[in-house]
Assembly symmetry: C2
DNA sequence: TATTACAGACAGACCGTCGGTCTGTCGTCA
DNA sequence: TGACGACAGACCGACGGTCTGTCTGTAATA
């Protein structure tokens, strides 16, 4: 194999890209270092020049994904325009949009989300996400408390719980994706839609808001999501 | 190594016991089949006579743990005495008690709960638990709806969300355990107590009950838990 | 400008250990 | 006594990771 020296940062990013694709497609455990080498065209020596271990790559990917997603919502929290409820709704809308955008990329992951190989990967991304996004959400809730709109004893705890609910969405979506193509698909979609609608209601109530204050999902969200996932499947 | 033939069921259980201890102590990935063999005194041939793979052992353990925990709360749901709220509180009390009882066993797990090896193990146990216990809780909530006490559009979705909250408890507890022995220990404990208290409140509100209807934790629960974990540590 | 020296960027053979297989043996019960 | 379940343990391929060596861009020196 010929040597093709590259800009270190590019190489590192390239390796991360390759690894991320493979991890999402087949899971962390099922992906071998040799797979990554094959895909990137690099040698083992090269790989271990950039990363201390396969686990190290995972950590880098988790950090990168989390950073990117926090960057997507950061501006909403930075600029303080409007009351807390408006901003919270904007925050949730952006999160939703983010989910839709990354859905195609995550599609192979969803179809096997129940396989054990993916759960660790997935849980870690969520964990990192919560660590980074949680404080932002907490500040937002704190504002709502100070405005006297949110009836909540502890902003941090509330943020954690709400984020936990958000994370559980993936599980629910995964179950619906799993049912796709089967006779139960329609029922599964409806169950998911009910579930998501309930999550919005749950957030309302947890924050002590009147039912329906939070717009968690738009009607037909599930249908749109499923179509998006199906289109990219074939 | 001499042969010591045993009753098949005993052997299987013994293998599961050994594996479970090791998985809890060091995590699933870090535990090798050889470790299990060493601890049980069995040979490889013997091991693979009972289980198809290491993964197979995990599944069996997950199923066993989940079955045992469902058995602990099943009676409360079977016999229908009292209104839904009373029964729900009994259900939660039993769950709490169950957590306290298994805490010492889980102690080594908590201290390294953030290590990646444990997350898959942990997530899977939770998943199995939710699958088994979820429907029970849903029936309970359904009763509350029919009584007109719970204001909830979908019992199943509500049950799922509440269980999700319960599962996230371990993460929160893990964080507090992690801080134990450091200067932040006290603050971490207080944060955990607030967090757990909030979870009870969240359940109240999600179900449309007046604040304080659900007794999720007794005061000093966290202190007691931490003492329990510390005692078994040394 | 030509030469040299050096450090970082790789290549790839190699190693120990892992999960899992396979063949054979022992004990038990029909 | 033979057949079958319950093991024993040598063995295998593949994996993550190491090690030594080589190539190349760059900067200092003359």
């Amino acid at each position: 194999m010929p040597r093709t020296p590259q800009n270190p940062e590019r190489r590192r990013d390239q390796l991360l890209d390759c690894a991320q694709t493979l991890f999402f497609e087949q899971g962390y455990e099922a992906t071998t270092v040799n797979h990554i080498l094959q895909r990137s065209g690099l040698s083992k020596g090269g790989f271990y020049h950039y990363f201390a271990s396969k686990e190290d790559v995972l950590e880098a990917i988790v950090a990168r994904v989390a950073e990117r997603s926090v960057a997507q919502v950061n501006d909403l929290v930075e600029q303080d325009n409007g009351d807390a409820l408006t901003r919270l709704n904007a925050f949730l809308r952006r999160s939703r949009q983010l989910k839709l955008e990354t859905a195609p990329q995550l599609r192979p992951l969803f179809s096997v989300i129940f396989s054990p190989g993916h759960q660790s990967l997935f849980h870690r991304i969520n964990q990192a996400n919560m660590t980074l996004v949680g404080p932002l959400l907490a500040r937002l809730i704190q504002q709502g408390i100070e405005e006297g709109r949110f009836q909540v004893p502890d902003a941090t705890a509330a943020a954690e719980i709400i984020m936990q609910l958000g994370a559980s969405t993936y599980d629910a979506v995964g179950r619906a994706v799993y049912a796709q193509g089967t006779p139960e698909a329609k029922a599964a979609n409806q169950a998911l839609e009910r579930r998501l609608q309930f999550q919005g209601l749950a957030i309302d109530r947890i924050l002590g808001l009147p039912d329906g204050s939070i717009r968690y999902i738009d009607p037909g969200f599930v249908e749109a999501l499923m179509r998006l996932l199906d289109d990219t499947a074939e």
